[in-house]
Amino acid sequence: ENADPQKTAFLLRKAWTLYSVTPLYRFRRGRLRDYARLLSAFIAAEKQKGLAVEVGVELDIKVALSSLADLRGSERDQAALLVQLSSRSRAPSRNSEDKLLWSGWFCSVYGDDLSKDVPEDFTCLPLFLTHGPESYTSIVGSWFQKSFDCCFRRLAISPLNLSWMVAMWAGCKLDRATSAVELVFSVPRLSQPLDISYAIHPEDAKALWDTVQKTPGEITQEEVDVFMDCLYAHFHRHFKIHLSAAKLVKVSTAVASAHCDGIVKILHSQYLSGVLRLLTELAISQIQ
């Protein structure tokens, strides 16, 4: 893991909303300060137009853009780009710390599939993660779209990808696995909607995965299918319900959790790179 745990601490235990982003045209790393100023002016202008986030609240918004050199997969990846919106403290007192209102970051972890085909003037950072009010996401997104001719799209996560995630993450070796491996299913089209939470003791889930995975370091679709089929069969044996016919909407493990609406929480720095790599892949397939 090359990422400095201190620098990446801000990523952990926060719910990030995912987007795919097409390559940025003529984005210059050296101009981050300029971009911050421009984005700040843009936000102020949007507020004037009445598109302010909080009506009646006079918020002075400070914009900071920074590069996170460690947050990437290989040297071929672009360094991650972090955007932070804080409210400038009004009080001149000693406790005048700016309050972080919203953060978003662009990254690429082993995003070669995309960057190899892209002309030089483009910067590939296909994954965009946000945390904070939707209205700020919208404003920041608009500015990037205008400035770099890129396109943002919400990244939904299919049940297929969710099952990949749960299989992968259940198999991760952790010093202390404290949380269960949980799968949440939804059965909407009944007379009364039904949600089913299926949580497995992390040791038992890992034991199952270890017997399924044939080659360490490699995961195949077949192995994920076997793992899921085992879980479905165990459930069916007890309840006679076909879980495979229900919609998998959320998976949760000690490593990370993911929701089909494209919301992810990374809980353990140890597997940060692996999680981001998977998400980068999803973002790229949505773009292509």
């Binding site: 007379s191 009364q192 909607p193 299926y198 003791h201 319900i241």
Partner: protein, 346 residues
Amino acid sequence: MDETVAEYIRRTVLKMPRDEIKTMLQTWGFLSEAQLQTLNFHQIKDNISQEVVQLCEENSADIKQAAVLDIIYNHIYQNKRMWSVYQMKKSGEELDCFDITDFKKRFKGRLRSALKNVTITFKEYEDNAIWIRVAWGTPYKKPNQYKPSYVVYHSQTPYVFISASVLKSNLPLLCQALIVASNYHDIREMELRSHSLNSLKDIVFKRYSQNFQTYSPKPLQGQNVEPESADIRIVQENRSEKERIHRLNWELFGGGPQPKLEFAQYKLETMFKSDPKMDVLDKKEPFRCLVKFSSPHLLESLKSLAPAGMADAPLSPLLTCIPHKARNYFKIREKKGLFPESFVSP
């Protein structure tokens, strides 16, 4: 009138929907009809509650009366609270004649001997239900009126429904007082919880339509089977399968409405079994899982799983046993012996 009582009454009135305030105050009966006439119910609730407090001031309301108003609100909005069910046990076969005055005296006596700072209020309702409200304090602090426990006791039954306050430490004392007051010798918590108090009563008092052991081979005449659709794709096989599922559902769940539960939880400590050909996990220890089903109306949604093709019919007894076993929390272990496929739930 005590400041704290005034504030408590004000906040209780604020909780009520505006068009129900008048009825609740009338049920309360503490303010006269003439006083109620002076209230303007067409203003914002803040003002209405202030006016109510004013009137209560005129009548010198104390915490006892305020507590009754709180019971009235919670009786109507009982489904906002989570209720647990407790069952009491008698030691002998004594046929006690239930005396409400004795009950109240013994209950209050038992609680007060252990805890001086406690507010105890009773209200009886038509369906033989005795509602008890207890606000808890400590030896040094007055009772916290905002976190009371509610108990509903049907005197003709051994069942008590409790919506405890956050302070779980008072529960043993509350249980003690109940058995002392009602002349039972033991009380145990059942694994049955829900927001719908009436549904809990339906389940323990067996007031819902149950499955019958002996059944008529055909559904009753006039049963509301799904209307014959003109869809020619539904062939005889599908139709008879549909009818079979429908009949099984009727056998298992009965024809009437199901009690309303919101969840069921199963702690599974059974073995993981798989096809040996699959070459997967073969441990001698249990595959530990926790399964939770949630729905606005759980039993109805379970009932609709087989017809929707999501489950086999008949549905698993682990699910269909919920009402007649009167529980929605289960621990399932493997049954040892001849029939490894069956489960035991202690």
